[in-house]
Symmetry: none
Subunit: 212 residues, 4 copies
DNA sequence: CATGAATGAGCGTTCATTCAT
DNA sequence: GATGAATGAACGCTCATTCAT
């Protein structure tokens, strides 16, 4: 009889860690690094403030853990698409739609990245995990571009990182700047019609750019 | 030579205000609203911390004044371009280049807008000055689009606000996300070659999108 | 032609002083010495904060001026009663009623005295005007007591100051402690029925004490 | 002899709380709510200013805790007298003497109540503990009055709360207004002879009032 | 007489963090 | 592995007061 397997262990270190991380993600994404309160995180956690320090050492290290987890998640998402077998234009449209949807569905990620930019990416640079993030999307894009130029779908020769930026910028900005842009232009960017129109627009713009 | 015009007068409310505002802009742009320190602003000011409260009432109100000034500045810039007489394509290229250069040259503005988005534009909304910012760029874009469709330069019918977003997103993102993007892709976005390439890219992408 | 008498002088020093004093009385009576705000007084005054210092020198001196004025007022009130010709019991009843009504009608005075007691009468002691306040009520009481013992109205030999205290305590306490007493015993002491009952009670108690 | 019981333990929350409360009582009683300084309290405490906020949350809440403790103390004192078996007049004299002595011996309580009245009892009203203070003295007085009327000791029919006020007013005023009254009438109210004379006076006055 | 601008000192409060058990 | 108690440093802000005109 293994007592451990029968009893619901009250102190599950992994769960405690994950619990803290989840609450911290929300708090940092909502208030920024300096705006976030360790006390606020502790209060909404199953454990105490002391545990945050026990597991993560400091507020900044907790923030970094949150950031790392957020980046880890997108990397895993990128892998899911099966684009190799699609015609280049279709593959690109799928990839763009996926990026678009990802940012729309993960505002916390978008906010965390914005916050990290306010801090001039100083924490991210300390993290080998993020720094060495092998961004598969660039390889994917390079492959699509190559195939497209080979079969005549695309005419333009372009750096895949630049292309990624063109796509990312639009998808990211829609979410990151939704509040100021929405306020000034009196527009609710998350309205379904707007959402669909923008989703088509960025794909069309990119494709026509590559074909021009 | 009147010495009085050269010397910094002690009791010059306008100068005191402007001095505080300039220092505060830097501090808020660098550290965000919660990260900024009133003490830090005061130290780099000609006057004391007390004066900040004398003129601005609170840290948040000072932040709002900084934000308002930043937005006031771009509005005045927009007015300077004389695009009415140019052919639509040329006018659009000029406008895009101007937006691109503006964001590149005003990273503080970009950062302040990012920060305000982290705060869900709550301060901006309180400011009638910013909320009622009559964004002339939309009228300008609408005019260019109309002329372009009339003379056959453009084929696509598109909402000028959507178009503004397509342009803005790229120009803004290049600056706002330069640190994380640069870190992950090991790229210095402010390098002249990159700068020039991106400046051409966004214009080409937009033009080909409108012509497709 | 005396110009002064014809023109309404805009800057009437005496009026300015009185204006400040009236506002200050309210502020000090409401918030106490340390709770009162010079800014708050200035705001509700026709003039500026600078004038307060011009006329009164400091917050404490202004407070003392307020206190002095309050005491000056009661002294003038005491003189108004014509008790010498009344029978002793009637005179005493009149005097008690007058004290009772005075405290009820001058809660600001009562509050200022309470406040001064919190400060252990330190300011009052500095003021020769208040210290040397020739309290005529004691002479009046002494006279009533003497006449009462002479004509057999009163049997008890009592120090007039002690008697004044017995009367004062009740009248003052009703006003000074109205809030705590009222809260604990759920009673509104300014209700007309209560007012009348108490007014009779203190007179009856004093008279029966002197007659016992 | 266990040394631990003699030494002041460092981590004794109850002691820390009580220590702060004792110092705060003195500070608030001396300087009032707005005049009291959190720093001053902290300095005379075994702990730091931070602990005040740890235990009491804010200056106002600390003040309320002080007030509550002060009221809690008098309630417990009231219970100690065994008056039920005494003849009504004796019982009343004992009760009055007890009230008199209590106010004389607890000037801090008297001052705190005065201060709370300056604040219009706003804090007290927030405290259910004080608001619902079951004032046993009223029941005691009612019982004495009833017995006195039954056995012919007292002739007057009077509301026990009014009677309590007549007694309280004198006892309280002697302490609360000792400074201004003493200054104006050049009298030291705490002098033994005066103290004894006043102690007899209020009892005689009340008794003769009830018998008249 | 009068005023807006300016100020140093200190206020109540909060922060991320660590200690003792 | 976990907890409540404790902490120094600094934070945003306000005070009575004075300066320059």
């Amino acid at each position: 009889m293994d007592k451990r397997q029968q009893t619901v262990r009250k102190n599950d270190p992994e769960k405690t860690r994950e619990d803290i991380l989840a609450v911290a993600t929300e708090e940092f994404a909502t208030h920024g690094l300096s705006g976030a309160r360790v006390d606020a995180i502790a209060e909404r956690t199953r454990t105490s403030k002391r545990m945050i320090y026990y597991y993560f050492g400091s507020k900044e290290d907790l923030y970094l853990a949150v950031l790392e987890k957020a980046y880890r998640k997108i990397r895993s998402l990128e892998a899911d698409l099966e684009l190799a077998d699609m015609p280049p234009v279709d593959a690109l449209r799928t990839l763009i739609a996926s990026t678009f949807d990802h940012d729309e569905n993960n505002p916390d990620f978008v906010r965390l990245v914005s916050i990290e930019n306010i801090h001039r990416a100083t924490h991210m640079r300390r993290s080998s995990e993020i720094k060495d993030l092998n961004v598969s999307i660039i390889r994917t894009l390079a492959n699509i571009l190559e195939r497209g130029r080979a079969d005549g779908s695309f005419n333009r020769d372009i750096d895949p990182i630049d292309l990624h930026m063109l796509i990312s910028a639009f998808c990211f900005f829609r979410v990151s700047n939704a509040y100021t842009f929405g306020t000034i232009f009196r527009r609710d960017l998350s309205e379904p019609a707007t959402y669909a129109r923008h989703r088509a627009m960025i794909a069309d713009a990119v494709i026509s750019y590559l074909q021009a």
